[in-house]
Every structure is written in C-alpha cells, then in structure tokens.
Amino acid sequence: MIQAGVIGVGQTKYDAKRRDVSMAGLVREAIDNAMLAANLEWDAIDAVILGKAPDMFEGVIMPELYLADAIGAVGKPVLRVHTAGSVGGSTAVIAASHVCSGQFKTVLTVTFEKQSESNATWALSPRYPYSPHINAGAGGYFAPFIREYIRRYDAPEHIGWKVAAKDRQNALKNPLAHLHIPGIDEKMVSDTPMLWEPLRYLESCPSSDGACAMVITAQDQVGSRNVAWIKGMAVRSEGTLSAGRDEVNPQAGIDCAKDIYNQAGIHNPFNEIDCAEIYVPFSWYEPMWLENLGFCDLGEGWKLTDKDVTAIDGELPFNMSGGVLSSNPIGASGMIRFGEAALQVMGLAKDHQVEDAKVAMGHAYGGAAQFFAMWIVSSSLD
C-alpha cells in the first residue's frame, strides 16, 4: 500500500454566524489556507472529496454541485461523503484511501457546515410518521446514554463540568475557536441552565459556521514538506436499532479503534499516543470515549478525567484545540479533529501545541453514535 500523509491543513475562523461569507466563500477560505500550507498549485490536485452533515441543516441539497467552482473541482473527479456527525472523519479516511490505493497522487478534501443558515436542532427533530413527536435534538438523544453511563459507573456530576471547562480553557489558546469564554471554570458551567438532564447549557456544543480542508498526498509527492504520516485509519458502523447494542460503549467504536491501533503497531494506546482530538460534543463523552477507545478499563474513564490526565499538560491531552465543545460546524467537526491531530505531529499547533507530540489520534462519531471514523498520524514514516 502507498504511504500517504497530510501536507496542508486549512481552517476558517469558527463563529455562530459567518455572514461575511457565503457557503462557497466559507469552504474556499479553508481551502485557500490548506493550499497555502501545502504550498501547492491547483494543477497538483487530482480529485476533490467533500463531506458535510445532512443537507437539511442548510436546506441546500447536494451542495457539492453548487460548490464545484469554489472547491476547485471543475473538470476533476468529485466525491461527496455523508455519515452524519462523523462525516468530517470519514471524509478524511476516504480521501486518504484514494491516495493509498494509487487512484490519485494528491487529493484535496474539505468539509463544512453553515449552521446559521438553518437550524440543526429543528432538522434533527422532525415528527416521524406514526410516532409521538418527542425528538429533542442531538442532546435529547444522547442524554439517556450519558445518564446510563453515570448510573453504571457511579460517576460524580462534576466530571461533566470539568470536561466542559477544560475544553473551553484550551479554546482560549486557539484563536480560530468559536467560543472564547474568559474565566471559564467548573462553577460557571454548573451555574448554567439544564437543557437535557443531566446536560447543562455549557456542557453542550455550540452551533457554528466553519470549514476545514486538508491536502493529502502520496509519499513520492511529498518533497521537503512537513508531513503528518497516516499510520492507521478506519471507519465502522453498527445498527442503530439492533438488539444487543450497547449505546454507552458501542462495539463499532471498540472495533474501529482496535483496527487503527493494529495498523499503526500500537499495543498500549495510553502510553504510545501523545495526544488526541476526540469528538466530544457533550461533556460526558470524554470519559465514555476514553473507555470505548481502550485508553482505560470500563468505569475508569471518569477517574482519568478527574485526575486531569486529559488536560493539555496531562499524560494524555484530549482536545487541545478546544474540541467540538468550543467549535461545532457539524460537517467539519470530525475533520477538525483529524486536522488538529495532524497539526500536533507537524508541530504547527502554536499556542495549543503539545510539546514533542509525535503520535496523535483523530476521532469522530455521528448519527445515533453508530458511525465512527478514526486515524493515527505520526511525525515519522517508520
């Protein structure tokens, strides 16, 4: 298999309403930043792979067609990826797969959401035929799983506040983050109103506009560029309404993580991964994913969070950029995790850089926690 690496990551400024740009202008902002970082001419791009969350989120159906000019796809192969909230991650995996397979030498991949142009909670809460109208957005869907996690492992309520405060403190080091909340701490989180018990307002992700792009290329095209080498990547899904499914600890997440660790030759992820950007849209998903991804035993995740292990200066920093809790352009949120992992091993994460990060993980999940995408990137090819 051909070795592939990320040679450019481009992001927009994330904000509640990016009314200074159209949807096309938004994706182009991320692409221009990625192309500049990769130091490439347009001729070098063989194909463009675009991902975003449900089209209902903006009401623009098949936006990749309307965006063909803005994404530089005219006359080139273009592919659209769609796996709900995990789409930013799966788009990255699919883009990289097209390089590893030898189909293309260099692929531009971009993901976005312009949440201000519609209302995602509305789009996620339709009345289903023949059923009572009780869907209450993503938070309403995930809150029962979180409640069951708390019950199962007798976790104290401040864990959720702690994650929410920690990620927003990290966001203060990232100028692109949507939420910059001066003085953010656990008390401030715990004082905010309850939305979907047990989740409070500041334990939930914001609605953001934004885009993230990456240039992924084959080993023989790299030249002298700074590269984040892709050492392992995978996607997995599972049946949402399947008997025996454990929504708190989904099998597809366990399997996806094992797959990328095997590809990357990682035996002990806690010791061998230097930092991770993990999809945590609601505070409690940090301890839940610590366990699901095999960083610790079941029931131990909240204890790691409590001991500051996931702080930016901890043993296993999580979401140095501020994470989904600080910026959530849904379709891009997964790719931001993958791109931020790449920036860490390239040493380009500036004020939220983890010192000497060599191996980093990017992770995304979506839908009813049944879609997963993950990768491991490294500063070295070996």
């Binding site: 809460s125 023949y130 009572p132 869907n135 029962p144 069951e148």
Partner: protein, 166 residues
C-alpha cells in the same frame, strides 16, 4: 450607523416539505394491531431477538422478522432525559421526560413520554405501563399511547435487559 443603514447581507426564504411515507408490510402489520390497542413485536427467526416497533428485518442477522410476538404494554425505563428547552417545531411544552421504553419481552427500546409522576422520582429501571387515549381516538400510530406511567412493581436491573444470542 443606525440599524436601517446596515446593508442586508442575507435573506430568509422559508421552504415547506410535504412527503408521503410508505409504511411497508412490517410496519403495516404492526400499526394495524396498534389501531386495535395491541402491541405486537416481530421476532428474528435466526437469533430470536424481538423488535418493537419492528422495521421488518433484524439488523444483526439481515433476515426478515416474520414471527409475530404479542407483547403487553408494560415494561421499564431503560434510561431517560428531562428536556428543559423548547424544540423548534415540537408542540410539547418543557419540561418533559423523554424515556427509552423497554417493553417486557422486547430486545430494543423506543422513545416515549413519562408522565403521572414527579420528575425527581423517575429512575432507570422503573416499571411503567402505557396510558392509552380513549378508544375512539385510536389511529395507526403509537400516539394512541398518551404516555407511560409508573406502576407499583419492583425496579428492574437494566443490566439484565441486554440481549445475548441463546
């Protein structure tokens, strides 16, 4: 610059979508029973898992769930949330309790409301039963059940609800 002087840089254009939904044979069988006040799940002939509401196939085995399995309207709360914010387009006034309902004999849960109880007394594992609308209002919909309400039976250990192929 006053508000009137700021150039409008966007416009709102509401859209309206109407769609027809074809229930399919499995859902039709289920809803015809719901119309009569009966809850009939569907079982997988291979792994024996019971699905309610049924979708017509078992996601585990990929086969049609062609075994009809009559169930009661009693079960337990597998988990729940209390929704405190209004949801755009949703008529229910918060706060309300949205619960994963696991009927006795079923191997998946579905979302429905819990009422007739103080919110702070609701627990995972609590026993509940359907509260039906008057019979003359019954249609082909799970809305025939107004909500679920607690019954005086001991709580269930939800760990025992996990489906394992026998």
């Amino acid at each position: 610059m006053s508000a009137e002087d700021i150039p409008k840089d966007y416009s709102e254009s509401p859209i309206n979508l109407e769609y027809f939904y074809t229930a399919g044979s499995a859902t039709t069988r289920f809803l015809n029973q719901v119309k009569e006040g009966n809850i009939v799940g569907q079982g997988c002939p291979k792994c024996k898992a019971v699905y309610v509401p049924p979708r017509g196939s078992c996601p585990r085995c990929g086969v049609a769930t062609d075994i009809e399995v009559p169930l009661t309207d009693k079960g337990c709360i597998e988990s729940f949330t209390v929704v405190h914010i209004p949801i755009p387009g949703n008529p229910i006034v918060p706060p309300y309790v949205c619960a994963m309902i696991r009927l006795d004999g079923a191997n998946i849960s579905f979302l429905h409301l819990i009422q007739d109880v103080d919110i702070e007394n609701i627990r995972i594992g609590m026993r509940i039963q359907a509260v039906w609308k008057p019979k003359e209002e019954w249609t082909h919909s799970l809305e025939n059940i107004k909500w679920f309400a607690p019954i005086d039976e001991p709580d269930v250990d939800v760990a025992t609800l996990r489906f394992h192929e026998s």
